[in-house]
Amino acid sequence: MSLVAVSNLTVRFPVYGVDSRSLKKHIARAAVGGRIDRGHVGVQNVTALNDVSLFLRPGDRLGLVGPNGAGKTTLLRCIAGAYEPDAGRVEVHGKIASLLDMSLGIDPSATGYDNIRLRGLIGGTSPSEMARKIDEIAEFTGLGPYLDLPLKTYSAGMQTRLAFAVTTSVDAEILLLDEWLAAGDADFQDKAHERLVSLVERSRILVFASHNLEMIRSYCNKIMRIEAGQASPIFDISRLDELLAA
């Protein structure tokens, strides 16, 4: 059974080589971002997440809202297994697909096809499975002959198409999405939306961080607000306005 269980998760970033105290004070005073305290010599600690707990079962589609630097992406990265907690526990059962950063495993001088293969491998797809899927992925990007050209010749929107097509080609039980989806032209946006909806339907659990409330409303059934590393409990989507007003 797929599940995501996060209990009392605390994540602190050591920030190395930042010795400017004024910057520290500057950030600490700002309304956005986590709490910053002084660690041992030359290292500052940013508390990105503080005592966050959540539990997701199959069928849960959680939307994360909150200002920039609140810790939404950090939480996604913890669930993806990239960041280790400083305290607390993250337990995930199920195959994860994370669409956190479209530059993942991208080599600008390699061709589109090479990048599709490379990214698929990094995402945990076996070479033989990748060989089976590559035509379908290539088709979905709509990039045609451009796929034989190096990626550095692509525009940002074209790169997004490619990254999106590869990452969404996996059959994952748990889907982690971050904001970057909003690229590509209108035509692709529609295609992407369609694909995302089908992907969300196929996956068991979704965690989606976004500032776009419309997207949150259309994909999610639960909601959580994160601010300065502190998370609210999980609410039903119907209480979104109430939560944002608070």
Partner: protein
């Protein structure tokens, strides 16, 4: 149906736990061997993409260096070129493996930053990627060695001993590579330091001069780990007498080195992604 992959991450619960996690990382990275291989192949291919000779530039550039240095030094030292060229060829080829692994080790984690920040792939996968990449380059260099040895009519050699020597050398270079990878992720000066040290070490190591040209077997050799690395691979291939200290020294170094490097890895594993 196979059990679902599981991710379990918890806060620090003592060093024994960290050690266990580091071990799990090692096991996971070995299971994902094909990924390291695919990444390494991709690295080599992309480095030479668009060039006519492709990866054989590795061979060609090494060839010109070997011939140039071999001819020059045999004149300088008044050595017979048929005996000296194989010596130099092996020296340079093995040295390039040594210096390649240590200096490229510095980039291991920095290069993989984007991947490390959003997947749960084992860190050591990227160390194996660097090791594999260096071995691929090394195999291209071997063409030169084979050509030179055929030219010098040296057909009989103790290939088995040389191969075993290569294994123990790579075992040593791997931990060194892991060490430089962690250190350079944390401190940005390390790559420069490593490059300088390796350059300096090259002159102190009998790569293209002969150990017996030293007035007496001095401290330069005794305390030079790279001397033993060269000796253990090169001497069997040249049917030359081997330094009896080479094997014991390298085996001890491999054990102690991996011990130290692994402890450091266990201690820093959860921090590495934040270093980047």
């Amino acid at each position: 149906m196979s059990p679902s992959p599981t991710i379990l991450r918890t806060g620090g619960v003592g060093f024994l736990f960290e050690f266990e996690r580091a071990w799990a990382d090692l096991v996971g990275s070995v299971l994902r061997g094909p990924l390291a291989w695919a990444l390494a192949r991709h690295d080599i291919a992309s480095r030479y993409r668009g060039s006519i000779l492709g990866p054989f530039w590795i061979t060609l550039s090494m060839g010109t260096m070997v011939v140039g240095l071999g001819v020059l030094y045999s004149q300088l030292f008044h050595l017979e070129i048929h005996a000296f060229l194989p010596y130099v060829a092996l020296g340079i080829v093995i040295w390039s493996l040594i210096s390649g692994l240590t200096t490229e080790g510095c980039e291991t984690f920095n290069q993989a930053a984007a991947i490390l920040r959003q997947t749960s792939l084992p860190l050591l996968t990227f160390v194996w990627r660097t090791v594999t990449r260096s071995l691929i380059a090394f195999s291209h260099h071997l063409v030169i060695v084979v050509a030179v040895m055929i030219w010098a009519r040296m057909y009989s050699a103790n290939y088995l001993m040389a191969l075993l020597g290569l294994v123990v050398v790579v075992a040593n270079l791997s931990w060194l590579s892991l060490l430089t990878a962690i250190a350079s992720a944390r401190f940005r000066d390390i790559p420069q330091v490593v490059t300088s040290v390796m350059q300096f070490a090259m002159f102190l190591t009998p790569v293209f001069w002969r150990a017996d040209q030293l007035p007496k077997r001095g401290l330069i050799l005794t305390y030079n780990p790279f001397y033993y690395m060269l000796d253990v691979v090169r001497s069997p291939l040249l049917s030359a007498p081997q330094d009896p200290r080479s094997w014991p020294v390298l085996l001890t170094m491999a054990l102690v080195g991996w011990g130290v490097a692994f402890l450091l890895f266990a201690k820093t594993r959860r921090r590495v992604v934040h270093y980047l």
